[in-house]
Amino acid sequence: MSGVQSPEPATVPAPKPAGTAAPPSEGKRIVREIMSGSAMVSVLAVVVALVIGGLLIAVTDQRVVAAAGYFFAQPGDLFSAMWTAVSQAYGALWRGATYDPTARTWLGQLGIFETLTFATPLILSGLAVTLAFRAGLFNIGAKGQIIMGAVFAGAVGFGMDLPPVIHLLAVIIAGAIGGAIWGGIAGVLKAKTGAHEVIVTIMLNYIAASLVLYLLKNQLKAPGSTNPISPPMHENALFPLLLGPNFRLHAGFILAVLAVVGVAWLLDRSTLGFEFRAIGANPSAAQTAGMLVSRGYILVMLISGALSGLAGVTQLSGTSKSLDADIAGSIGFDAITVALLGRSTPWGTFFAALLFGAFKAGGTSMAVNANVSIDIVLVVQSLIVLFIAAPPLVRSIFRIKAAKSEGARA
């Protein structure tokens, strides 16, 4: 929360709004933290997290507990029980996320397409967090932006009657605007008053959650419904299904891939992206070089919010098809972990979102087929990010092993 007010009056002569005088260290450090380290650390982090998750599954499994009761009589039973528990769980996870020849329906067999469906909003909201990161801002507000994007998209999607294609385009634009407004509030406050974007975006999340409940009970409520749920979206406002009615995968996925390409271009090839990165690396230096830091903050939060808003659109027009209070689910916070795992690069975010989409798709099958609660996925995800954020920890875990094996060889 260092950016709440410029804390260095010694170096900053006039107490200007902190947008211009924010301490350079934090944003720079975040970016450095995320960018540094190799892809190897990411892979190892996933491995360690899966191992810990596996242990958790093993020690809470009833057969394992039973086998532990007679451990000294037959120690082998314990380990085989542990192996069975973990391999069943992760096996179900893997099959649910990719390909399961034993399932009865097409949808169940080809879980890979469910993975892509789940990944779609994660890609977009992950990009939102990534982009803000690169400008040194921590956008925790993906949840609120998704909600507001979905509210705006919904207002157009079930409130208006437009011809095909145009209706969908209008919905997409409305959603982007809704998210951009919500993100923009945080950007403007950061730029003009120095209010820390983390606090503002957290608070905006909750305000959006209350606002959507209010709207769903009043203006956006489906006529005749007693629940806070909106009428269904018009046919024309829905994303077309990519693989026919058997699968849920929709054209929103293409939108997400386009967004990845777009953000990659923005960050690496455009002047604006260069400004964002310069501001993220060192706002004071960027200011000195003649960039308008406050304008950068506002713009990056507008675009970031718009991306989250698009995630809301894909949820609404692609998956849920009518608006309810839980439209954002856990996507808002998953987006942060996705961006961290993706090391704040657009394509890294894309693959991280695929992994987390796989966790979501596989988690359901794991809960059904192996009786392991889907919450374990949250544990694994958060551990992955913890390990990735602390490369020295991962390295120390594996260096110890490496040293030992060297010693054994010698």
């Binding site: 929360m1 007010q5 983390v198 957290i202 905006l204 919450d375």
Partner: protein
């Protein structure tokens, strides 16, 4: 604090930076009060029932004419807004008492307007406050945890996780032992454990503190959810024996508990309620009146200076974060040992983030945070009471109040809420 306030007053005096935001905001609010409370004020009387039937001392109901009082409050607000304008013009900023009085009068005016606008036009004040304490108590513990961490320079976004870990552990351990105090102790330990992770990652590995906090919340949510499914839902002889926590009884204080309104609110609580009051005062005293507190604040404001005079910055931070975890863990125990009689998934429901809001709105001061928590608790409880009564204002807008106020506070619209200068900055020697 002293150095920072000195610096602050120096800059404001010398450069005479005049912010017109406070008088403008107060003016807009006063205008709102005049229009809504006064001109559009509801007819009839708003009745505040101060006593319950069983009380020893019966106090007559407080009856106020809703619209008349609305005008009264609105005009005071308007006068205070003018005063704020004059002070800004002359001194550069409105005096503290002006904004404070304004807030109090505005809130009371709002309350009368809301009650006057309901169908029944009355409210049981005792019920309002005792219900509010169900929200306020964990909020206070959570925000105290935040105070301890952030005053030493470590941002604590993981309050939610600490509360949830405390709630889960308290439920599990007290179910297993049948002893509520064992559960309480375990809850404190669980909070310390979450804090330990926060401290190790943010102090030792210098990971961004906000990232760690966010991730820890997810981790605790996943872990408690997983264990809840695996352990607590397991039925033994048809009963979920691992989710039947013992209960901490209410301990009414003789005489004091008979005071109208205040008695049932503050002196008819469980041991955790009293512990909360003690902790608020103790932490305030500790931070602002003892050598320990001076050191902690020095570490949070200017770690390098603190290091220069021989204070071990990272050890101070580590210990403070751990202490904060214990406090939040105990606050989490309140959920399962006092408020509700069993654990349920994600039962803290975002209260940890409201605690963060209370901390900021209370300006990183234990007493301020506690008062903010009380305000947020009343707003939250009012929302649930009013959802049944049919009101002029939708409950969802009351629910937004803490968050909206916090945004106003951090963006400096009504007074500036300023974090410790080194909050969130890791300290690397050299």
């Amino acid at each position: 604090m002293s150095a920072a306030t000195l610096q602050e007053s120096l800059t404001t005096d010398r450069l005479a930076v005049r912010s017109w935001r406070p008088p403008i905001i107060l003016g807009v609010l006063a205008l709102f009060a005049i229009v809504v409370f006064g001109i559009l004020g509801p007819g009839g009387n708003a009745t505040f029932r101060l006593s319950q039937d069983g009380d020893a001392w019966q106090v007559p109901n407080l009856v106020v004419p809703a619209q008349g009082f609305g005008w009264f409050a609105a005009l005071i607000c308007a006068a205070l807004a003018v005063q704020a304008y004059l002070q800004t013009k002359n001194v550069g900023r409105p005096a503290k008492w002006v904004t404070m009085t304004f807030t109090v009068v505005f809130v009371i005016g709002l309350l009368v307007w809301i009650i006057g606008g309901t169908k029944t036009q009355n409210i049981t004040v005792v019920g309002l406050f005792t219900g509010a304490m169900l929200i306020t108590t964990p909020l206070v513990f959570g925000s105290l945890s935040g105070v301890l961490c952030e005053r030493s320079g470590v941002v604590n976004i993981a309050i939610e996780g600490q509360l949830l870990a405390g709630a889960f552990t308290a439920a599990l351990v007290s179910s297993m032992t049948g002893n509520a105090f064992a559960g309480l102790f375990a809850a404190a330990l669980a909070g310390v454990l979450v804090s330990f992770l926060l401290a190790v990652f943010s102090i030792k590995y210098v990971v961004n503190q906000i990232i760690v906090g966010v991730v820890l919340n997810v981790l605790v949510s996943g872990l408690t959810g997983f264990l809840f499914e695996k352990i607590m839902k397991t039925k033994v002889n048809g009963a979920t024996i691992f989710n039947q926590p013992a209960h901490l009884p209410d301990l009414p204080i003789p005489l004091l508990s008979e005071i109208p309104v205040l008695g049932p609110t503050f002196f008819r609580q469980s041991i955790l309620g009293y512990l909360m009051i003690v902790l608020v005062i103790a932490i305030w005293f500790g931070l602002f009146r003892t050598r320990w507190g001076l050191r902690v604040r020095a570490v949070g404001e200017h770690p390098k200076a603190a290091d220069t005079v021989g204070i071990n910055v990272n050890r101070t931070r580590f210990l403070n974060v751990l202490a904060g975890g214990a406090v939040a863990g105990i606050g989490g125990a309140y959920f399962t040992l006092v408020a509700v009689s069993s654990f349920s998934k994600d039962m803290t429901g975002g209260l940890g983030f409201i605690a963060l809001a209370a901390l900021i709105f209370g300006r990183w001061n234990p007493i301020g945070a506690a008062l903010a928590a009380l305000l947020f608790g009343v707003a939250g409880n009012l929302q649930s009471i009013l959802s049944l009564a049919g009101t002029p204002i939708d409950g969802q807008f009351l629910a937004m109040l803490p968050y909206a106020l916090t945004i106003l506070a951090v963006s400096g619209f009504v007074g500036k809420s300023r974090a410790p200068a080194a909050d969130g900055e890791p300290y690397v020697k050299g």
